[in-house]
Amino acid sequence: MKVVVCVKQIPDPADPGALDPETRTLKRDVKLILDESDSYGVEMALQLVDAAGEGEVILVSMAPNGERSGLATALAMGAASAILISDPELVGSDALTTAKLLATAVKDQGADLIIAGSESSDGYTGVVPEQIAGVLDLPSVTAAKSIEVDGSSIKVQRQTDGGYDDVTCPLPAVVSVTAGVVEPRYPSFKGIMAAKNKPVEEKSAADLGFDASQVGWAGAGQEIIEVTDAPKRQAGEVIEDDGEAFTKIVAYLENMKVI
């Protein structure tokens, strides 16, 4: 069983990020780490390969620089190899360009299954997995909370507001995985050491058959026109306790239709 997982390396959310005032996009010239929301897909893929008793997990990632720390984490968790699409030309690429590039890199891998996170924790476009499926003309299942392989198809539990849907889908397919549905393993010491020797193949846009006009800002079908700060949280209402404060609190809650 060969599972390709699309993973993104993002700036550490623990460090306060900054927007590039010129491009209005997140500054990514810092150390990148594995997007936590992708670690669930990696874990799920590793479990599927374990359950199948054979096969491997291959990572595909795209980054504007050659940063590999995030891939190293996923390799240390147990993925066998990685393809890193890395090219300065890629700065400014929109979701569809990203999907096209990832799809092209994935195409030749002979994957039985392609897994991606539902959305990245830095861009939140949330459309790349479905676009990959579109580009590759494969079935797409979204918001998976579990995947079970059954011969040449998969059974997926799709998270919904009220519970989950049972979905069956033929392979190969593209499945996006909801964050938090499995417990991603921590890279073991042996895994970290083994990861040092695992192949990471770097590819440029040209290697994948794209020219500069098709990627980056040039190829983007979208533009960020304006960025505004999120509204500041309003100061709360303070109720002084004069012995009767509970009536005011009850009235307040009733007014909010909480009780």
Binding site: T73, R185, Y186, S188, F189, I192, M193, K196
Partner: protein, 592 residues
Amino acid sequence: MPDYTPPLRDISFVLDEVVEFQDLFATEAFGHVDADTVHTVLAEVGRFMAEVVAPTNRDGDVIGSSWQPDGSVITPDSFKPAYRQMVAAGYGAIPFDPDFGGGGFPWVSAIAIQEMLTSANMAFSLWALLTQGAIDAFTHHGSDEQKAMYLPKMLTGEWTGTMNLTEPHAGSDVGALTSKAEPVGDGSYRITGQKIYITYGEQDLSENIIHLVLARTPGAAPGTRGISMFVVPKFLVNDDGSLGERNGVSCVSIEHKLGIHGSPTCVLAYENAIGWLVGEDGDGMRNMFTMMNNARLSVGLEGLALAERAYQQALQYSLDRTQGTAVGAAKGVSSPIIDHADVRRMLMTQRSWIDAMRCLVYTNAAEIDRSKANGGDEARGHKELADLLIPLSKGLCTDLGNELTSLAVQIHGGMGYVEETGVAQHYRDARIAPIYEGTNGIQAADLVGRKLPMRGGAVVFEQLDAFDHTAAELSKDPELARFGQNLTEAIEVTRECSRWLLENGAVDPNNALAGSVPYLRMLGTVMCAGLVGKAALVAAANDTGAEADFYRAKKISAKFFGEQILPTAPALAGAVMAGPDDLFALTPQQLA
């Protein structure tokens, strides 16, 4: 805001630029490792400690471990998954012999891992610490059969280890122990006796516990010379490695303690328990000494680790808590307390000592590595320095663990004294470290009795001479000139005190013992200053570039040490050279 942020940048600064551990990777012993790999491992381990272990710290304190009438001990529920995941990740094996599943990494990298583990949860960390000690014992003194039988599972952490020295009448004086070991003729012994204060002597985490027990064989010499070391597994191990019968060791009770509630401190009763000699009959104490350095260093590290954790919490609190109007703030504004000079003094004292302790402990660990990775005279030089630093790392850093966690409580004001914030836990947890693994009084005695006299004091004097150069370099930087001057003065006073102790200690040991604890503080502080001085010079040379802010902070932390902490060292000269007269001038009745 996470509870604990692994100080990875501070650690890599000390490893790369103060300890300069890169030389280790040019040796045969560590040639298979490189600095990058160490940093990658530390980043992953740090994440694990912050996300998995640190959240269990409060449970350890509030729930604690509890003893059951059937003799079992239950650790807090949250310890179990943390333990399982840590075993699965195999982080405990990193510094040990690759033949038994280890990574063969330098000890200094294990120290960095241990720092983060201990900051995350000191009570939890102790099973790993004691297991490390037991691994050390087998590695150095075990037979090939014992190594094959115990090491693989102890390296993974599936089996934990314990150290059984203490008995009711044998604490600091280990030689007074009375547990007995009778040979039965088949190579095994029957062990009988009572051990107290045995850390993780019983627990519900691991499938087996491998006790290392000090006891006397029939006709053994009195005192430390008649002590032997035995391995007593909780469950006997069959030839195929599976677990067999339960051995004759049971947990009679556990202690109720000031801190580290998560760590069970057990009274163990040995009744005809089956054991086997580790090393030779009568070598128990000598065997203990070979692993003592690592164990004492690890306990010294506890002072650093808890100071770091408490500091992170205090810093955050000082930003959140508003009180009073700071000098310079607009009228009527309630300032965050970090804007008050005295709160700054407390924070800087913590920041600066933490940086200094990390330099000291990591240097100590790297010197142990260098003594093993090199040969001949070079190895001997590193061994001597490592030996000298051990009582300083243990004694100074654990005393500071108390002082700095106390400052963290102080910064919290009344909220520090009530248990709600959790900062009081660090203060209570830290209090054990100056007591166990040889009290700090015993560390000081070791310093003046054994370490200072090495080569007639030359090991100390050579180090002080080297710091003279550091002082001269510091004096060239206008911002660090005062530090340089203070260092020169402190070195001179320390030389004088060292000479005094050597001369007068030879006449009457009490001359040296009376001033031993202040001397440990003095030499430890000067040793820190020398290392921090080096850190300051590195930082000063990096004042531009992407990390200018980081280096600036390191330089200022060092400057603070040199100007506001270092001067406390020479001020101890009076106490160091006072001799015992005043100490013994009063009769016990007069002391009452």
